[in-house]
C-alpha cells in the first residue's frame, strides 16, 4: 500500500510525515484495508481543531485531518501516537467496510446523519481497540453516542452491541440503532 502525507514537513506543529505514514501503513495492515489502495493523508497543521474524515474515490482514499486530531491533548503542538492510531483506526475501519461487499452499501459520508456517523464510529473503534489491544476510549465514545442516540438504556445497549460487535453489516448498524 502506498501512503503519502501532505505536507511532507511540518512547520507549526511537531509532527513527522514519515512517522504518520508508517503508522497509517501499520494500522491499515491491522485493520485489513486492501493492499492495492493508495492512501493520501492531508493534515491541516494550521488547524488546532480535531475533525478527521475519509473520502473514497475508486481505489484511492484521502484522509483529511485537522491538525488537532493528531495532537497530544496534554502537550501543545506535540504529536500523539496513541491518539493518531485511534483516529486512523476509526477512519480505516470505515474505509475497509466500504470495500467489503459483505458490509453492504452505505450512503456516502456526506449523506450520513450524525446518528449514523456515531454508530459507525462506535463499531469501528470497538473493533480497532480489540484488534490493537488498545484503549479505544469506550466511555468517551459512549458519551458521543448518547448525544446522538439519547441518554437512556436502549441507546446504551445499542452502543454496547456496536462496540462489541464484529461482522456487522450496514443494515445491522441501522437496525441496532433503530434508525
Amino acid at each position: 500500500m502506498i501512503v503519502t502525507v501532505d505536507p511532507p514537513a511540518f512547520a507549526l506543529v511537531d509532527f513527522d510525515a514519515g512517522r504518520i505514514a508508517a503508522l497509517a501503513a501499520d494500522v491499515a495492515a491491522l485493520v485489513g484495508v486492501p493492499d492495492d489502495l493508495a492512501v493520501g493523508i492531508d493534515v491541516d497543521e494550521k488547524n488546532p481543531f480535531g475533525k478527521a474524515w475519509a473520502l473514497v474515490d475508486g481505489r484511492s482514499v484521502t484522509l483529511s485531518v485537522e491538525g488537532g486530531a493528531f495532537e497530544d491533548p496534554q502537550r501543545l503542538r506535540q504529536f500523539s501516537e496513541a491518539g493518531t492510531r485511534l483516529v486512523l483506526g476509526r477512519l480505516l475501519f470505515r474505509v475497509a467496510d466500504r470495500f467489503d461487499p459483505a458490509f453492504g452499501d452505505p450512503p456516502a459520508d456526506v449523506d450520513l446523519t450524525k446518528a449514523e456517523h456515531a454508530a459507525w464510529d462506535a463499531y469501528s473503534l470497538g473493533r480497532y481497540a480489540r484488534r490493537a489491544g488498545a484503549d479505544g476510549g469506550r466511555e468517551r465514545r459512549r458519551y458521543a453516542f448518547r448525544i446522538r442516540h439519547g441518554f437512556n438504556d436502549a441507546a446504551d445497549r445499542a452502543f454496547d452491541q456496536l462496540w462489541d460487535g464484529s461482522d456487522l453489516t450496514w443494515v445491522d448498524l441501522r437496525r441496532i440503532c433503530s434508525l
Binding site: 507549526l12 496534554q74 502537550r75 448525544i147 441518554f151
Partner: protein, 267 residues
C-alpha cells in the same frame, strides 16, 4: 508556608500536565485562524460536540481546582488589617463551594468518559488570583473569573438540555447558583472596600476589564452566534452586574475577535 504562592508551584498529582499560558496565547497557529474563525457555539449540532464538551468540561474541572486554590490563598495571604474577617469568611465559604464544584466536575468528567488530566492545564485562572491587592484580587477573581464561570455554566447547562443529558444540566444548574453567589460576593466587597477610595475602585475595575478581555479573545466568549461561550446577561444581572457593565464586556468581546488578539486560554 509562604504568603503568596506562585502559579508554577500549584501542587498536582502525576496525571496532570501543565501548559504555559503564554504558549497557549502565542501558539503560532493562532495567526492562521481567519477573523471570525471559531469552533462555533457549543451545541449538539456541532459534529465535534462530544469532544468539545468534554474538553470544556475538563477546562471547568481544572478551573474549579484553581478557584478553590485561589479562594484558599485569599484566606491565608492577607493579614486581618488587609482583609477583614467577614471577607475571609466569604472566601472560606467559596473554598467549600469550589471544593464541591471540583467534586461535581470529576463526576461529570467520568460521566462524559474523560480522564483526570486528559487535557493540558493552564494556570491562567489562578494567576488572576495572585494579585497582591485584595480588592484587585477579589474583583479579578470574583467578578471577571466567576463572571466567566456564569457564562460557561449557562452555556453547558443549555448544551445539556439540548442533548437531553439529565446529569450535565442538573449539575451545571447547581454550579450556576453558586457562581452567581460568588460574583455577588465580589460585587459587594468591591463596593464595601472602596467606598471611600474611588481611585482604588477604578484600578480594580480596570484589572477586571483586563482579565475579562483575556477571556473574550478571538470571540471565545461573547454574544456572536459562533462564540463557543455565550454571555449570560440574565444571570449576570442577578449577580450585581449593571447593564452598562455587561454591554462593555460584550463590546470588548466583539473587539477581542480581532485577528491580532490572543486566543482564549480554555476550551
Amino acid at each position: 508556608m509562604r504568603k503568596s504562592f506562585p502559579a508554577e508551584d500549584l501542587a498536582r498529582d502525576g496525571r496532570f500536565r501543565r501548559a504555559r499560558t503564554e504558549d497557549r496565547f502565542e501558539d503560532p497557529r493562532n495567526e492562521f485562524l481567519p477573523p471570525g474563525r471559531r469552533a462555533g457555539k457549543l451545541t449538539p449540532d456541532r459534529s465535534d460536540a462530544a469532544h468539545a464538551a468534554r474538553q470544556l468540561m475538563h477546562g471547568i474541572f481544572v478551573g474549579e481546582i484553581q478557584a478553590l486554590e485561589g479562594a484558599g490563598r485569599t484566606v491565608w495571604d492577607f493579614d486581618d488589617d488587609e482583609a477583614p474577617f467577614a471577607l475571609k469568611l466569604d472566601m472560606a465559604r467559596q473554598c467549600w463551594d469550589e471544593a464541591r464544584h471540583t467534586e461535581m466536575s470529576v463526576k461529570l468528567g467520568e460521566w462524559m468518559g474523560t480522564e483526570v488530566g486528559e487535557f493540558a492545564e493552564t494556570a491562567f485562572l489562578y494567576q488572576a488570583a495572585c494579585n497582591p491587592d485584595p480588592v484587585l484580587r477579589l474583583t479579578g477573581v470574583n467578578r471577571a473569573l466567576e463572571g466567566l464561570a456564569i457564562d460557561v455554566f449557562n452555556t453547558m447547562r443549555e448544551f445539556g438540555e439540548a442533548c437531553s443529558d439529565p446529569v450535565l444540566s442538573f449539575c451545571e444548574d447547581w454550579m450556576l447558583a453558586d457562581e452567581v453567589t460568588h460574583v455577588k460576593m465580589g460585587s459587594d466587597w468591591l463596593r464595601r472596600l472602596t467606598e471611600n477610595d474611588p481611585e482604588r475602585r477604578e484600578r480594580a475595575l480596570e484589572f477586571q476589564r483586563v482579565v475579562d478581555k483575556l477571556f473574550s479573545f478571538r470571540g471565545f466568549r461573547g454574544e456572536a452566534d459562533d462564540s463557543p461561550i455565550q454571555l449570560a446577561r440574565t444571570f449576570r444581572r442577578m449577580a450585581g452586574f449593571g447593564d452598562t457593565e455587561i454591554d462593555t464586556i460584550a463590546a470588548d468581546a466583539e473587539a477581542g475577535s480581532d485577528p491580532e488578539g490572543w486566543r482564549a486560554p480554555v476550551g
